[in-house]
Structure formats: C-alpha cells, structure tokens
C-alpha cells in the first residue's frame, strides 16, 4: 500500500524547514502521552522504553508526562499505572470498561480519541507492535493528524517546540526526519528495543485521572471468539535475546546457513537473518533483523556474511558487542562493528564454533 513517509527522493527540497506559526487553537495542546500497552497481566516493555524517551521530551518542553491505561476493571490496571509512574510518568489517564478487556480496534480507538480530544496532549507515543500499529493508524485518521511510524529517534525542535521524528526510509537505506506541522497531537510509533529501558524507580508516584467510556458491548461490531496463545518454545524471541548469531547473503547457499545454527547452539544464542535471506526462504520471517524485521539489543551479535546495509543496521546497532565476519574489507558493517574478521564466513563460522566449544570446555574444567 502507500508509502507516505518516503514519497519524495532525497533530492527534493526540504519542506519542513519552512517557518510556520502554530494555529492558536492548537497551542492548547500540552503534554506528552505514552499509550501503556499490556497483555495478560503485564505491561509490554516497549511502553516503559517509550516512557523513558517521553520523559526526556517532556522535560525539554517543560510539560507533564502521562501514561494512558485502558482495560477492564480488576485487570490490574492500577498496578499498570503505578508501573508507569515508576518509569517516569507524572500521571495516568485510566479508562476502565468491560468492553476493553481484550484489544479490539473499535473500543480502543474510541477510548483513546475521546481522551485526546478532552485533555489535548501535544505528543502521543505508541509502541510499534501489532496492537500499537493497529490502534495508531485508526486513531490518527480519526483525529485527522499526522503519524510517523517506526521511529528510531525522537527529539524536540528547539525553534518551534515540534516533535522531530527520525525513521529509516527507502527500504532502510537512508534516514529521514519528519515533523508534523499544523496538526495536534503529533503521533509517533517506536518499535520494541529501539529505545533503551529506563531504570525503575519505586519511590516515584503520580495521580490517576479516571474517565469512563460511553460504549456498550452491543455497540461493538467485532466479537472476540477465542484467543489461542502462542506456544513459547517454538517462537524466536529475538528482541530479548542476549546473544544472536545472524547470517546474510554472504553465506551464498541455504545449506551454509546451518553453520549459523551450529554456532548459535554452542552459544545458546538465537538465530537472526537479513531480509534477503528471509525472502529467499532460508529461515522464517520471525528471524528477520532490521527495519522490516525485528529490532534487537543483545549483549553479543555475531554477523556472518552480512554487509551491514542500513536496513539491517538499524535493527541491530544497539547491540553491546558486534562481531562482523565478511569477505569484503570495505563492507559497511566494519564501520560500526566492535570486532571484524575479514574472511570467508563459511570457514570462520566453524572455527568460531570450535573456539567457543573449547572455551566452554576449559571454563568447565576450571570450575
């Protein structure tokens, strides 16, 4: 479908620098909001990451940071508010209603748009999860405002107090900064693990502003018949993995990808891959790291046969230590990796597997 945020080639004149005066009606919009997403009794970590980022934006603007909690009464919603306070929120807007028990677009869109219309925040942030993307798109359209998806950086433009949201564009080859002009709130989504997790501060507290939702179950067209929870063990949980071994097109043939699995097994690591590898069907789409896949922040990321195109880089550059193996000494991945080995990944991977196995055996003996 349409590609909104990257319609013009980079050569086009920068439209956003033009001076503008915010419509007086919009000056009333104050404060930074974070939608607090929760499922089965726990807040999604992306909401805390957004609170950490939202705190910085709110401080810079000199306004309050608020969390928005929607759910059914008795669903631990007050605990979620407290969690939000501990991660930086000054207050929480809370809407409790039975129709909000499980996520459905219609009641959640109404609850959130009603809150926005009443309390008028200038910035509204949501996680770019399946829920967040579903909700953000419909809320922005209902409110007729701008939405920047999958941001990798958020900042306040000191000149005009507007939100400058940076995201990859052109399939992740370049970055672009997007501003929302005469529309409020300024909405943005950010993917899990893109922002760092703020430290929890249990001494913090805040106030809760409660609102009700004028919506009956009979008003809601879509009914939830069933929820089939994922079987955890089969699912790759890349965003929260501590060690990831990833392979790219430099591995040349699908059977060579086994070398990545072998090293991952010795390390107890998850396996990741680049987009071309996933598109060729060597591994499942749930293992794709990068702009159109997952964003990861492991302690150790081993990239084999990966050139380091921006599309991939934005998904993994938050890793603590990056080891890159590539035959091309000029590959961009060596510009941001911690360690590089220039060589044939098909030979280096088995050597690493052996070296780590040896290391583990020695470590075990030492104990």
């Amino acid at each position: 479908m349409s590609n909104p945020t990257a319609p013009t080639p980079p050569a086009a004149k920068p439209a956003g620098r033009r001076k503008f005066e915010l419509d007086p009606r919009l000056k009333a919009y104050k404060g930074v909001w974070v939608f607090i997403e929760h499922e089965r009794g726990a807040v999604h970590p992306v909401s805390f990451e957004l609170l950490g980022e939202g705190r910085k934006l709110a401080d810079q603007l000199g306004v309050e940071l608020a969390g928005v909690v929607l759910g059914a009464a008795g669903e631990d919603t007050r605990r979620f508010c407290q969690d939000a306070f501990c991660h930086g929120a000054d207050l929480c807007y809370l809407v409790e209603d039975p129709v909000l028990a499980q996520y459905r677009n219609q009641p959640y869109t109404k609850a959130l748009t009603d809150l926005v219309n009443k309390y008028q925040p200038e910035i509204l942030l949501l996680g770019a999860t399946t829920l967040g993307r579903d909700l953000a798109g419909s809320v922005a359209t209902t409110l007729q405002t701008g939405l920047t998806a999958d941001c990798t950086g958020l900042a306040i433009d000191p000149e005009n107090r507007s939100l400058a949201a940076t995201r990859p564009t052109f399939g992740g080859s370049l970055l672009c900064t997007i501003v929302t002009l005469n529309y409020r709130p300024q909405m943005a989504t950010v993917r899990p693990r893109v922002m760092s997790m703020p430290a929890r501060d249990d001494t913090r507290s805040g106030r809760i502003v409660e609102e009700s939702l004028a919506l009956l179950e009979t008003d809601i067209v879509t009914k939830l018949l069933d929820f089939i929870a994922d079987e955890k063990r089969d699912e790759a949980n890349l965003p929260f993995a501590d060690i990831i071994v990833a392979g790219g097109r430099g591995l040349k043939r699908p059977e060579n990808f086994q070398l990545v699995w072998d090293l991952a097994e010795v390390l107890g690591a998850e396996v990741g891959a680049t987009r071309p590898v996933v598109q060729s069907g060597w591994v499942g789409a749930d293992r794709q790291v990068g702009q159109s896949g997952k964003t990861v922040r492991p302690k150790l990321y081993i990239a084999a046969g990966i050139s380091g195109a921006v599309q991939h880089r934005v998904g993994m550059e938050g890793s603590d230590v990056i080891v890159a193996i590539n035959q091309d000494a000029n590959a961009p991945i060596f510009d941001f990796a911690t360690y590089g080995i220039v060589g044939n990944a098909m030979q280096i991977l088995p050597a690493l597997t052996a070296a780590f196995r040896q290391h583990l055996a020695t470590a075990k003996q030492a104990v």
Partner: protein, 281 residues
C-alpha cells in the same frame, strides 16, 4: 461478492545501494515491483474468489508507470484494475493517501457495493502499516489487521470470521461486512499467472482516474497539501568514528583468527563470559 485489493508499486528496496563515497542513494536501475506484502493480500482475495465467487478489483495510487503493477495483478486473475494518478496526489503521507484511496473506493462502490477491502500489512518502502487502518476508519469498515487466516465468509449473514495475529497469540474474531483486512506475510503462496490471464492483462483497458474521476471532494486533503507530516530532511546515517577492530594473526588461519577474537573479546568484555553456553546445559 466484490473485493477491492489496494496495491502499490515500490522500488525493489533490496536492490537500493548507497554510494560509498558520496553517501547518496543510487536509484539507477532499481527495478519496480509490486509490494510483496500486497501480493499476499491479492492471493488471499483470489482464494476467496475461488471459494465463494467474487469480482476482484485492484486499485493503486501512483505515477503512470504503476500501470505495470496493476497489469501484473490482472495476470494473476484480478478482474478489474484502476490506477489513481494525478500530480495533485504527489507527496501524500499516510493520512492523505488513505483519503485519496477511500474516495476512489467510494466511487467504485457506486458501480457495485464493496464487501471486502484488502491491503498488504505494510509496504517495503514506507513500512508504516498505516494506510489500511486509515481507509477503514474513513469508510467505516470493520478493521482487521495482521490477519493470518480467513476462516469463513457468510455472505447471507454478512459475517466474516478470521484469525488475527496479536502480541503473544492469535485472536479469533467474528465481524460484519463490509470490512478491511490487512494480511500477514507468508500465509499463502502466489499462484502462477495463466496464459489466458496474461493475454487478458496485456489487452485490458486500464481505468485511469485523476482526482476528479476518483471523486475527490476536498482537494486540500490530498497530496502534499493534505499531509500533516512533512519530511524535513533525508540523510545517510553518520558513519561512526569508531571502526571495527580488525582481528589479524600472522597465519590468518580461521582457527587462529577465532582464538584471537575470543581472547581479545573476553579480556575487554569479561561480562560476556557468563551468558555463553548451550541452553539447558
């Protein structure tokens, strides 16, 4: 049943390269393809056509060259194709795009009511996943994103049951038509075009609509003018000053390189020692 599938022609972003010296994007020779996620949506629509019988109309907004994407869709078995093209649409963000597409779908409805609108889960060039929800809100369609399976369509009752990917599981949802569905990748495999359909696609008189033909009511809501968001700058990521420490040994044998890497890494980052080892060991 009448199904509209929204598709987009995109540059094959896997083939875009950044010039290593000038740090600018090299667009020459990058082929245009149908957004791969939209083909999953099209295939799903064609399967409903096989199952229940339907007219499938494909709709695309873009420059005149986007005709190629629509003819491709026709060759797979779509019945009708409409290209929405007008200079006034240029520079649209998600909000302005969903306005233009919603206007066109309203126009399509005048010919035959629309029961289902399909869209890919996102594009590979914009990656926003926002236009589908935007169209649904504007046309008051029930919105079902990230659908992994269409269980059933009951045309008599006007009901639809689907499985939808959610965080941590799958929702089974029942809703009323008309609805808008965005589909998850990998749920089907695109069929092959038949010879007949390829000939038909080549000869098909494409409907080309400008903003007036598409029934756009408010021109302040389309294109750059109708877009709340503007791109203020486009730039290549700044190269980090700290480049990788390249591991070298006298022999440059894989075994020596691996051993040297481990020695250096565990010395500088001793914390890595703890987490390493096979799971369950």
């Amino acid at each position: 049943m009448h199904i509209v599938v929204c598709i987009k022609q995109v540059p094959d972003s896997a083939q875009i390269r950044v010039h290593p010296v000038t740090n600018t994007i090299m667009r020459q020779g990058v082929p245009a393809i149908v957004n791969p996620y939209d083909l999953v949506a099209l295939e799903e629509a064609l399967r409903l056509k096989d199952r229940y019988g339907a007219r499938v109309t494909v709709l695309s907004m873009g420059p005149p060259q986007a005709e190629g994407a629509l003819r491709k869709a026709l060759s797979f078995g779509a019945d009708e194709a409409i290209l929405l093209t007008d200079r006034a649409f240029a520079g649209a963000d998600t909000l302005a795009t969903s306005y233009a597409l919603a206007s066109a779908i309203r126009k399509i409805q005048q010919d035959m009511p629309v029961d289902l609108v399909f869209a890919g889960k996102q594009t590979i060039d914009g990656d926003t996943a926002q236009v589908g929800p935007g169209i649904a809100i504007r046309l008051k369609l029930q919105l079902l994103t990230y659908v992994s399976k269409i269980e059933s369509v009951d045309l008599d009752q006007g009901e639809l049951t689907v499985q939808r990917r959610a965080e941590g599981g799958v929702q089974v949802l029942k809703t009323r038509l008309p609805a808008l569905i965005t589909v998850l990748e990998g749920i089907n495999e695109m069929r092959f075009a038949t010879m007949n359909d390829m000939f038909r696609a080549a000869r098909y008189p494409l409907k080309v609509w400008d903003k007036d033909a598409a029934g756009v009511e408010d021109i302040s809501k389309i294109g750059l003018k109708g877009s709340p968001t503007v791109v203020s700058k486009v730039f290549a990521p700044t190269p980090r000053t700290q480049k990788a420490e390249i591991i070298q040994t006298q022999s440059d044998q894989p075994g020596d390189l691996a051993a040297t890497l481990l020695a250096k890494m565990f010395t500088k980052f001793p914390q890595l020692r703890a987490g390493i080892g096979p799971r369950g060991a």
